[in-house]
């Protein structure tokens, strides 16, 4: 079984009279418990690939399998169900829900899943502490810094222990110390819970944590190396 399998994915955007190949025959297979970094220059297709894996966007051709289930043909409702139950997303922009507090944002997915209040509270408080946001639980996104919002977004993605976490530039707004703490947290989750991580990043430091590094350029995979954590 593969946690993620992409077969010959293609996705082309038209911009004016120009065709942009965001994904150009991309095939990858990621084992459960994989810890993969996607690195590419800006516009290289990282976000497009993560969106395809998470069922947020449909490729023009090719197949996407998540946990041995083909998802590029599922309905919107079924995809929503899949994301809710087994995928955690960290988006490139923080993308918190503005009317909810930090803690409510973190509890959102669990609430939709129907997790009881007491358990939600326990988990969200614990994760807030882990990402270093203790004491900020009642702030709304507008009352937090970019880095703090980013950490709330990360907490929201991992709090319900999804089997697969897709993170798009999770450290973009963090200083190096906080970045390290976050990556340590990811590594622990990966080791203790066998959570699969796919992280898109420019950040050399983040790449250092990855077990496997995939480099892309103009929608194509140009390099795919196993590496051992530093």
């Amino acid at each position: 079984m593969a946690a993620v399998r992409c077969v010959d994915l293609c996705k082309t955007y038209r911009q004016g009279d120009q065709d942009i190949k965001a994904l150009d025959h991309v095939s990858i297979e990621i084992e459960p418990g994989g810890f993969v970094c996607l690195s590419a220059p800006s516009g290289g297709g990282k976000t497009t690939l993560l969106n395809a894996i998470g069922g947020l966007d449909m490729p023009d051709s090719g197949e996407v399998w998540v946990a041995d289930r083909r998802i590029d043909q599922l309905s919107k409702g079924a995809l929503a169900e899949l994301r809710l139950s087994s995928i955690g997303f960290v988006f490139q922009a923080y993308n918190l829900i503005p009317v909810l507090t930090a803690r409510e944002n973190i509890e959102f997915v669990m609430q939709v899943q129907g997790v009881p209040a007491a358990e939600r509270a326990k988990k969200s408080m614990a994760i807030l502490e882990e990402v270093g946001l203790k004491g900020l639980e009642d702030r709304r996104p507008a009352e937090m810094s970019g880095g703090q919002q980013q950490r709330v977004a990360v907490a929201r993605a991992i709090v319900s222990r999804p089997a697969l976490v897709l993170a798009d530039e999770p450290t973009a707004n963090l200083d190096s110390k906080t970045s390290d703490e976050l990556m340590t947290l990811f590594t622990e989750l990966n080791e203790h819970h066998n959570t699969t991580f796919v992280i898109a990043t420019h950040d050399q430091r983040v790449m250092g944590y990855a077990k496997r590094l995939i480099r892309m350029l103009d929608g194509r995979i140009v390099d795919d190396i196993e590496q051992h954590a530093a």
Binding site: D57, K76, S85
Partner: protein, 409 residues
């Protein structure tokens, strides 16, 4: 609290001023509707009660065909014993027997064709307000006295007063010539010109003698404590008709077809106006909700990416609208009840309604009453249209694409 519910509530207060403006529009419409509808219902109730109280009663027992033909020979036989037995059987209802004939009434220098009613002086005051509207003299007494009360307009036309004699000429039940001389003992003034000009009343016994009725009459008038009670007792009265008789029982609706028509006409013109009001409110809600959905496209993209289904988003928008609508409903209904109650205590005189007031024997100052129906009906329709208006923005969410939605700002 459920997460969709919590989001809905928070979203509602995100743009306080906009929410209050929309609620204000609903509230204004609802208050106005409750007040107007309560006023209409109060007027209709008065119109019906006052018209029926004057003379018609809630229902009448008649011979078949009498209502339309009013022929002398379409009689109710042994009418006094029939009325008496019904009185014994239905203690809550007021019951009186009448005979009716057309006659030429002549004073010393003038003659007019009028309707002569034979009445039971003992019971007539219970079913009709005319005996209580005597402005000069007294009402007729006894069973057989040759006394008469006439309307004020008729008295003026005939140039007669109390103590004067009138000669009545007509034809009896058998077609023979009927004539009598009666003494005027009272003059009534109901304010309804038709009644005051065309009607005179004499005791039923005398009526039966003069017109050779042989114990018969033409109508048994029945009044119940309320209109609703009347509707409930009608089938029982029908069942109590003497076996083998072909008598029919007409309700007020059949006896006064003009009344319901006037109400219906008034209602349909009013409800047309209300309809326009409701549609205006619905469009204001449509505008608000469409705007609030469009400006949240980005946010909806996030929650969809996290795993909320389009249906749940649609429900969120409907829930927000429901909350909005409920606030408007409650505040509007309260406003309407307060406004109506104010005029319930102080009364309301409506300029331009004098003619209608005179036609239907209404007082010039009306004391309004808010009933559960009159309070709920308007706001309910507004609420329903509010939900309908929000359905469009809610349904649009099914087409939302999470990635594209998150790209918009």
């Amino acid at each position: 609290m459920n997460i969709v519910m919590r989001l809905a509530w928070r979203n509602l207060w995100r743009h306080q001023r906009r929410t209050w403006l929309t609620v204000g529009a609903m509230m204004f419409a609802n208050t106005l509707l409750v007040f107007m509808i309560s006023m209409q219902f109060s007027m209709y109730g008065l119109m019906i009660e006052n018209t029926l109280k004057l003379f018609t009663g809630h229902m009448q027992i008649q011979a078949p065909g009498y209502k339309d033909d009013q022929k002398m020979r379409q009689t109710v036989a042994d009418i006094v014993p029939l009325a008496a037995s019904l009185r014994a059987e239905f203690p809550d209802e007021k019951i009186a027997a009448r005979g009716q004939a057309f006659a030429l009434a002549s004073s010393e220098d003038r003659s007019y064709g009028i309707g002569i009613f034979g009445v039971e002086p003992e019971f007539e005051p219970q079913v009709s307000s005319i005996p209580g509207l005597i402005k000069e003299g007294r009402y007729v007494r006894g069973k057989n006295a040759t006394e008469i009360v006439v309307g004020a307009v008729l008295a003026r036309n005939l140039r007669v007063g109390i103590g004067d004699e009138l000669t009545l000429l007509g034809s009896g039940l058998d077609g023979s010539f009927a004539a009598a001389v009666v003494t005027i003992v009272g003059i009534f003034d109901s304010g309804v010109v038709d009644v005051d000009r065309n009607i005179a009343q004499i005791p039923l016994g005398a009526f039966q003698d003069i017109f050779f009725m042989d114990g018969a009459g033409h109508q048994v008038v029945i009044s119940a404590p309320t209109l609703d009670a009347a509707a409930a007792v009608l089938p029982k009265i029908v069942a109590a008709m003497p076996p083998g008789s072909d008598l029919v029982v007409h309700d007020w609706d059949a006896l006064q077809p003009g009344l319901k028509q006037a109400i219906k006409a008034d209602m349909s013109s009013a409800f047309f106006m209300y309809g326009i009001l409701v549609i205006l409110v619905a469009f204001s809600v449509l505008n608000t909700q469409l705007m609030s959905v469009l400006e949240r496209t980005h946010e909806f993209g996030i929650v969809m990416s996290l795993g909320l289904k389009p249906g749940q988003l649609g429900r969120l928008v409907m829930l927000e609208t429901t909350l909005l609508g409920l606030i408007g409903f409650v505040l509007g209904a309260i406003g309407g009840v307060l406004l109506t109650s104010y005029f319930g205590v102080n009364g309301l005189s409506i300029p331009g309604m004098e003619e209608m007031a005179a036609n239907f024997n209404l007082p010039t100052r009306v004391y309004l009453e808010a009933t559960p129906l009159s309070v709920v009906i308007g706001p309910s329709v507004v609420f329903l249209f509010t939900l309908l208006a929000a359905a469009y923005p809610a349904l649009r969410l099914y087409k939302l694409h999470p990635v594209e939605a998150m790209r918009t700002n």
